[in-house]
């Protein structure tokens, strides 16, 4: 042990019987046994923590201080997209947080107007005819989209015939997982040397048994698929549907539209492009847009407006794929996205893509000067894949960045590039921040040449140092237990 921070106790280890931070209203009345019957009651209360309010505040404030965030640090996670979350959004979202989803539509007209309007705006941004706001995350949007494609083929009598979905080998892992959930076989096509999809392999894979092609554009290596119109034509020629994974929409938002490229379905990750917070893992929010021929299959409910101008929620459509989640979507995030689009307008959104692409190319050049090769030496879009020089490990560089006070890029993705470092600065970082990032990377490479062993020691300044992930997976400890039962943890530490 060195002299740095000790273990931070769990909230359970701070617990003292009889302490309470909060006192809800107490309602006197009959016993639970009298109202609910003895048999239904639990024998012992759940062992939740018992702490004072100040204990509680200190604990979760200290935990917050052990957490990196976009508000504190540059966070260039390629494909994950961490940009600034405007503060005004919190005020906007709070205006709607006490609304109950079972309220009569007449009592939520202002909110339904925002949601209905947002549906239209997202359709315009993506070039789609109809949009559903329901999906709870990007991957949930993928599931929604592929279920709609399946319903479309079924309605055309081709459900049994179309058995597979084509996915590039560099695709986000959710794409093949989604296709698998909908019962499709996955056919992978390789990435060509220029970073784009191998068009010949794509054409060879396409056939009357293809249900859909799932692509993102720009691709997961940050390159625009220049032959996208040809890909769309080839897919449509065999009756397949073209699905757009919106994870990379930030590169083209306001500048170009998936709908104009021939895509039939698109999901958007609102946290990646329209600045909704991701909260250390979620919520996401994954609205899905479709061309008119797929509109009959949209999930329900759907925000609509009647002839009198009243907003409502449609819940009946015989052809709908059904419901994807309870109620209407992650409304708290949808109103944040509404505020963002309303703040920026068309020109502001185009500026987002332009500055995101400018920043990515600037950092790509600066990193090349610092000694990191780009995986593909060409203009990138909002992100790019780099690699360290031979003999230096991407993971070591990432951990050394932590000691520089900076968050690493996405590492080891996409899997088609060895030692991949996927960097996405986003439009909200300044050139000065990008210079500092490149300078830190240059220092790390000099250190790697001078004292390679020291890199493997990094990080040394973080609350904890490199953690034993193998032990965590081999003997999973997934909940806290009182000390006397804690032999497993001691065992894991000894491994």
């Amino acid at each position: 042990m060195n002299g740095r921070q000790d273990d931070l106790p769990t909230i359970f280890e701070r617990s003292e019987p009889g302490r309470r931070a909060a006192r809800p209203p107490v309602v006197e009345g009959p016993s639970m046994a009298a109202l609910l019957g003895d048999a239904a009651l639990r024998d012992a209360p759940p062992a939740l923590p018992e702490v004072s309010e100040l204990d509680l505040v200190r604990h979760y404030t200290n935990l917050a201080h052990r957490q990196t965030s976009i508000d504190g640090n540059v966070y260039p996670l390629g494909s994950c997209t961490m940009k600034y979350n405007p503060k005004v959004h919190e005020e906007v979202a709070a205006l709607f947080e006490d609304l109950h989803p079972e309220q009569d539509p007449s009592s939520v007209q202002g909110l339904l107007e925002a949601l209905g309007t947002l549906q239209g705006w997202l359709g315009s941004i993506t070039g789609m005819d109809e949009v559903t706001l329901q999906p709870a995350a990007g991957a949930h949007g993928e599931l929604t989209g592929i279920l709609m494609i399946r319903a479309y083929h079924e309605a055309n009598g081709e459900g049994a015939q179309r058995r597979h979905v084509i996915v590039p080998d560099a695709a986000h892992g959710t794409n093949p997982a989604t296709a698998g959930m909908v019962g499709y076989d996955v056919v992978e096509v390789p990435t060509a040397a220029d970073g784009e999809v191998d068009l010949d392999a794509m054409k060879a894979a396409l056939g009357p048994d293809t249900a859909a092609v799932m692509l993102t554009n720009p691709s997961t290596v940050g390159i625009f698929e220049t032959r996208i119109l040809e890909i769309a034509d080839a897919a449509h020629a065999v009756g397949a549907q073209l699905y757009y994974d919106g994870a990379n929409l930030n590169a083209i938002v306001g500048k170009a539209r998936p709908g104009d490229m021939g895509f039939d379905v698109v999901h958007m990750n609102l946290h990646k492009t329209l600045t909704t917070p991701h909260g250390g893992g979620g919520p996401g929010t994954g609205p899905v847009g479709v061309k008119a021929h797929l509109a009959p299959y949209l999930p329900l409910p759907h925000v609509t407006r009647d002839a009198d101008g009243a907003w409502g929620l449609t819940t009946d459509a015989a052809t709908s794929i059904g419901r994807m989640r309870s109620y209407y979507g992650n409304v708290g995030n949808l109103v944040r996205a509404y505020a963002y689009v309303r703040s920026l307008g068309a020109e502001g959104l185009a500026n987002v893509a332009e500055m995101a692409v400018l920043n990515a190319n600037y950092l790509r050049v600066r990193m090349r000067e610092a000694g990191f090769a780009s995986a593909f030496e060409r203009t990138c879009m909002h992100e790019f894949v780099a690699r360290p020089p031979e003999g230096v490990s991407t993971n070591d560089v990432a951990k050394a960045l932590l000691d520089e006070g900076m968050h690493p890029m996405t590492v080891y993705f996409p899997m088609v590039v060895k030692e991949a470092m996927m960097v996405e600065p986003t439009e909200t970082e300044s050139l000065q921040t990008l210079d500092a990032y490149a300078d830190a990377l240059a220092r790390i490479l000099r250190r790697a040449e001078r004292d390679p062993a020291s890199l493997a020691e990094a990080p040394t300044t973080t609350p904890v140092r490199r953690l034993d992930e193998v032990a965590a997976a081999r003997r999973p400890v997934l909940r806290w237990r009182p000390r006397e039962d804690d032999a497993d943890v001691a065992g894991a530490a000894a491994d």
């Binding site: 006197e28 109202l35 639990r42 909260g279 979620g282 209407y328």
Partner: protein, 446 residues
């Protein structure tokens, strides 16, 4: 331009460094006729204009009238400290904890969440949260299909209708039969006669009509048939009701909104899923595990990721690659703020106020259709007209109440009413007065 920091000089300097003439050159890979389409969007609004606009929208909503709305979502008392701590910017503006050394805040909070959900449900292995309760029910069915290699799911009609709809959506592409078991005359689920070949038997308590379902006989029936017993539970109710784990269930799922997350018209909330040790490797979603760093210090990491789509891709357990951490973290802090006594006060207060409300409505002559089984904090009341019209008119009369009971329950025209610990006598008086105008007891058909 609102949130981008670039000055004209910055843009020039960056272009020079890159070696192109203008920003448009960076989009040279995009076919020219695709570039810069006109978009049908409003003109940019400055912050003051934006706030005025959204406040105008909010003024055309009712967030303040007394509420008796339930249906799985309820606004319980949440101490101020919960929101203040949960909304710290380090928690709000963090991404997925891919670099564990600088993400201990989120990882430890998640580990504490997993522990609390394990305590509440009486089962050992919780994931880091799901999208919501309805999708968690569907994922529980998928888990059971994987674990048992069977092709049939049996579900009680007492399970929230929207959860059953989501279940149907998720299972539609698969060659799986879904059977629904009707409630009996007392709104309780009979133990089904035939669970043969079932992967899962899914029962909810309190069920959609508010009735408390005893899990043990259902668990026994599932296990005798070789099926998994899936218990759907409002986690707040588990402060007083027997836990799924104590009843022997294999899987507990539900929506966590009642643990301190604002209703916000239905989301974001979070779902939970907690399972037995035996089902650990079938569990979808993220898991946080405890481990040690190179100095022997305790720390937390995302673990068992081989189950997930990043590695398994087409063979992953689920395509879920996120959780609803912000909401789950809020529930974690709230549970710590309340402790076992505070959580019990919320649950008991809700039960007592709901029973007092049912008694009052009976005195007023209403047909409170609870059946002869215990109910928790929500119950059906017959009304003389289409329940949707009654709900609309109650809102117009200044009370948010009247979740329509779907026709499938065979109660005729009925609404659900819910109470919480915060329901006041004045709220109840307002409801009674509004009902007298909108749906007089005398008009309810016998």
């Amino acid at each position: 331009m609102r949130y981008t920091p670039h000055t004209a000089e910055d843009v020039r300097a960056a272009l020079d460094a890159i070696g192109v003439d203008d920003v448009q050159a960076l989009f040279a890979d995009v076919p020219a006729d695709l570039l810069d389409p006109p978009l049908d969007l409003p003109a940019p609004a400055d912050e003051a204009t934006l706030l005025r606009h959204v406040r105008d929208l909010a003024a055309r909503t009712d967030a303040r009238s007394p509420s008796f709305l339930g249906g799985g979502v309820r606004a319980h008392f949440t101490p101020s400290v919960t929101k203040h701590l949960a909304m710290q910017s380090e928690f709000v503006t963090a991404y997925t904890p891919y670099q564990a050394e600088v993400a201990q805040g989120v990882l430890q909070t998640t580990f504490e969440f997993q522990t609390m959900m394990s305590e509440l449900t009486g089962l050992p292995v919780s994931n880091a949260s799901m999208y919501d309760g309805a999708s968690a029910v569907a994922e529980a069915a998928l888990l059971a299909l994987r674990a048992t290699k069977r092709r049939r799911v049996v579900v009680s009609r007492g399970v929230h209708p929207q959860a059953r709809e989501v279940l149907a959506t998720y299972l539609a592409p698969l060659d799986v039969t879904v059977d629904v078991v009707d409630l009996d005359g007392d709104h309780a689920t009979p133990v089904p006669a035939d669970l043969s070949d079932a992967a899962a038997w899914i029962v909810q308590s309190p069920n959609h009509l508010g009735t408390v379902e005893p899990f043990p006989p259902h668990v026994r029936a599932a296990h005798e048939a070789g099926a998994l017993a899936v218990a759907v539970a409002d986690p707040l109710s588990l402060a007083v009701l027997q836990s799924p784990g104590d009843a022997g269930a294999d899987v507990a799922v539900g929506d966590g909104q009642t643990l301190g997350v604002p209703p916000q018209f239905g989301g974001p909330h979070f779902g939970y899923m907690v399972v037995t040790e035996r089902l650990l490797r079938q569990l979808p979603g993220r898991l946080v595990g405890e481990t040690r760093d190179v100095d022997g210090r305790r720390g937390y990491v995302l673990t068992l990721q081989a189950r997930e789509q990043h590695i398994r891709r087409g063979k992953a357990k689920s395509n879920i690659c996120s959780n609803h951490q912000l909401a789950a973290g809020m529930a974690t802090i709230n549970l710590a703020a309340l402790g076992p006594a505070g959580l019990r006060d919320l649950a008991e207060g809700s039960v007592r106020n709901a029973h007092a409300l049912a008694d009052r409505l009976r005195q007023e002559g209403y047909d409170v259709a609870t059946g002869n089984r215990p109910f928790f904090a929500e119950f059906p009341v017959r009304v003389p007209r289409d329940p949707r019209e009654v709900r609309r008119d109650l809102h117009a009369a200044g009370v948010r109440a009247g979740v329509p009971v779907p026709d499938e329950y065979g109660l005729g025209s009925a609404i659900l009413l819910a109470a919480t610990e915060s329901t006041s006598d004045a709220d109840v008086d307002a409801l009674v007065a509004a009902l007298a105008r909108v749906a007089p007891a005398a008009e309810v058909p016998a």
